[in-house]
């Protein structure tokens, strides 16, 4: 557990440093700001029950899910409701994603060609699960604008990075330090998706938005809303929990 505690301490230190240093006069470390934002849900480890509502032109459905995470690399989520899809599960280990399908009792690894595909029928893609936490590695970040209350940060893909977006723009509130909105642009730099963060709450020592809304802009009547409930941080989880065997377990 020592390594984790060390990470927490260093994270906290970094956060404290950032908060104290983030006066306009001093250069902002955009990189760690984004990393902090992207990792806020996870902490060292986390557990949550989530509700995902997906609305499309043809159907609307609500999924109840249970999710675990460890650092930025490990992530396991299992469907609880509806009954038809109970125990359908997704495991992410670094940049790989597997799905477990209880109906046929098989684990399926998502091939690279399908990473852009929808995750569990939502407007979140498999790529989002994998890449979102690596924004600071795959993109060049710069401060676009700063107001009294907000930062606007632009992310442009690094030349060699295999990414799907042409540009990402973060709107981050200064206090509490939470994201408010993320805009995704395609390769032609047309804005194609918006993510909104709402319902900011105190969870343990963290302040996090508990609701995430994804709006695909080319389909105005469609959306995905993800709500976190019973969010708990810093559980005693390690890498062995995020195994293919555990993916199958019910």
């Amino acid at each position: 557990m020592i390594p984790y505690r060390r990470t927490i301490i260093s994270n906290t230190l970094a956060a404290v440093l950032l908060l104290t240093l983030s006066s306009p006069a001093l250069a902002l470390d955009v990189q760690s700001l984004i990393r902090e934002i992207e990792q806020q849900y996870m902490g060292a480890s986390s557990h949550a029950n989530t509700t995902m509502q997906v609305r499309t032109a043809h159907w609307e459905r609500t999924l109840e899910m249970e999710a675990w995470s460890l650092g930025r690399d490990y992530f396991l989520v299992r469907i609880l409701e509806p009954a038809k899809e109970r125990n359908v599960a997704t495991l992410k280990r670094s940049r790989q994603v597997w799905n477990y399908l209880p109906k046929v009792d098989r684990i399926i690894k998502i091939p690279p060609s399908m990473m852009g595909g929808s995750w569990m029928g939502s407007h979140i893609t498999n790529d989002d699960l994998v890449k979102a936490n690596h924004i600071d590695e795959d993109y060049d970040l710069r401060l676009l604008d700063e107001t009294a209350t907000h930062y606007l940060i632009e992310c442009l893909p690094k030349e060699e990075a295999a990414v799907v977006w042409g540009k990402i723009v973060y709107r981050i509130r200064k206090t509490p330090r939470v994201p408010e909105q993320v805009d995704y642009y395609d390769e032609e730099l047309v804005r194609v998706r918006e993510t909104h963060f709402d319902d900011v709450q105190q969870v343990g020592e963290r302040i996090v938005p508990l609701q995430l809304t994804v709006l695909p802009l080319e389909k105005p009547d469609e959306m995905t809303v993800l709500r976190y409930r019973d969010l708990v941080y810093d559980l005693p989880l390690d890498e062995t929990f995020f195994s293919l065997r555990n993916l199958k377990q019910r």
Partner: protein, 407 residues
């Protein structure tokens, strides 16, 4: 009288006339053969695309072809509703449901296109049952038997009897997934189908996609593919709202272009080859007219009008053209017949080539098509007249006083 004279004149220098005649016959016959083989190649291409996958006519939601939208579906008894079985020209029809998803084994996953079909009906439209490399065509009894392409089978390392999982997004938003058992493996030579296509029972796919009693299209075949567009136009007038019909030309626009361009390229090929032949004819008749300067002079001195002289020479070339045409068309037809019946197998030297949505098979094989005879025949007569025109003009312009002195 003029005709007899022209005919006799032709044979005054037998060797020269025969040489020219043989050049004309050979070029006409070879052209007819070559065009027959071209047509055979296009037929193969069209047949490969339609018999491997598309069919000649497709009934679907008007939007379906553009976006392959899962939700642009039709009731699965649409063919009965439209009373398509009463159309005598339609020789086969197959209802299909289509899904794009992931075909998976423990070690590998591949994105695939899966067609839900009714085996007895699908075999009326596509001919994959004749292109099996192992296993058998799924029978109606196998509720989850699948036919998969050879390239796909190789990538996934499966053989008949093996299990596969198909995963896709169902119409209710859930993750549609179920097991398939490989019944057979097909190889068409078209890599897009061999590497990507899976055929599975319609009922099975309707359950996976949660689209009971729905289909995306009815694929149909007609006796003569060239009439498909006309039949589509006729049927289109009776279709209800939300149902459209497409012919193979709409589904394979490149193929339609290629076949339409063939009419132009045929003219070009004919023109180039005949240009050479035409020069030969021109040469023959110039020689012939020069030799007969004195003769023409005498004829004109006796009162033959320049127009009659011109007509005489033109008649000679036209006669030669007609003779060449009869023999050439006959020889061409015989060779085409041979290539149609026997053909030449090239599979030892080249592999199938995919082009404009179809597959060019490694064989030379000819088909009979009226245009392949009419165009070379008509052009042969035209070129004869054209080549005769200059010598005829020269003969007609002779001054009898000068001409009779020519020796």
């Amino acid at each position: 009288m003029l005709l007899t004279l022209a005919f006799r004149n032709l044979w005054r220098n037998q060797r020269r006339t025969l040489l020219t005649l043989s050049a004309m016959v050979i070029s006409a016959a070879l052209l007819i053969l070559a065009l027959g083989v071209f047509s055979g190649m296009f037929r193969d291409m069209l047949a490969s695309a339609t018999e491997q996958y598309y069919g000649h006519l497709v009934i679907a939601h008007p939007e379906y072809h553009l976006r392959r939208d899962l939700f642009a579906h039709l009731p699965d008894d649409i063919a009965d509703q439209l009373a398509l079985q009463r159309e005598a020209e339609i020789t086969g029809q197959s209802p299909r449901l289509r899904s794009f998803g992931l075909l998976s084994r423990p070690e590998t996953s591949q994105p695939v296109e899966l067609l839900g079909i009714i085996p007895e009906l699908e075999q009326q439209v596509t001919s994959l049952q004749h292109q099996l490399t192992s296993g058998h065509y799924p029978s109606a009894k196998e509720h989850n038997g699948a036919l998969i392409g050879q390239g796909l089978a190789r990538k996934m390392k499966v053989k008949p009897g093996d299990e596969l999982v198909f995963v896709t997004q169902a119409a209710d938003g859930s993750i549609g997934n179920d097991l398939l058992i490989v019944s057979g493996i097909f190889a068409t030579g078209d890599s897009r189908h061999d590497n990507n296509l899976v055929l599975a029972p319609l009922l099975w796919l309707q359950q996976v996609l949660v689209l009971p009693e729905r289909i995306h299209e009815v694929a149909m075949v007609v006796a003569d593919p060239m009439t498909a567009a006309r039949i589509a136009d006729r049927l289109a007038t009776d279709l209800p709202e939300g149902v459209g019909i497409l012919d193979w030309g709409d589904l394979l626009p490149e193929m339609r272009e290629v076949i339409a361009a063939y009419d132009v390229s045929r003219m070009i090929v004919v023109a180039i080859l005949y240009m050479a032949t035409g020069l030969g004819i021109l040469n023959t008749f110039f020689m012939s007219v020069m030799e007969r300067t004195r003769e023409f002079g005498i004829l004109m001195a006796q009162g033959m009008r320049p127009w009659t002289v011109r007509g005489l020479v033109l008649l000679e070339t036209l006669l030669l053209g007609c003779i060449a045409l009869v023999i050439g068309v006959f020889c061409g037809a015989v060779m085409t017949l041979y290539m149609q019946q026997v053909g030449i197998d090239l599979s030892g030297y080249i592999t199938p080539v995919t082009y404009a949505g179809g597959t060019i098979l490694p064989r030379l094989h000819a088909v009979f098509e009226a245009g392949n005879f009419l165009v070379p025949a008509g052009m042969l007569l035209l070129i004869s007249l054209f080549a005769g025109f200059l010598p005829a003009n020269r003969a007609a312009r002779l001054d009898p006083v000068v001409a009779v002195r020519d020796l």
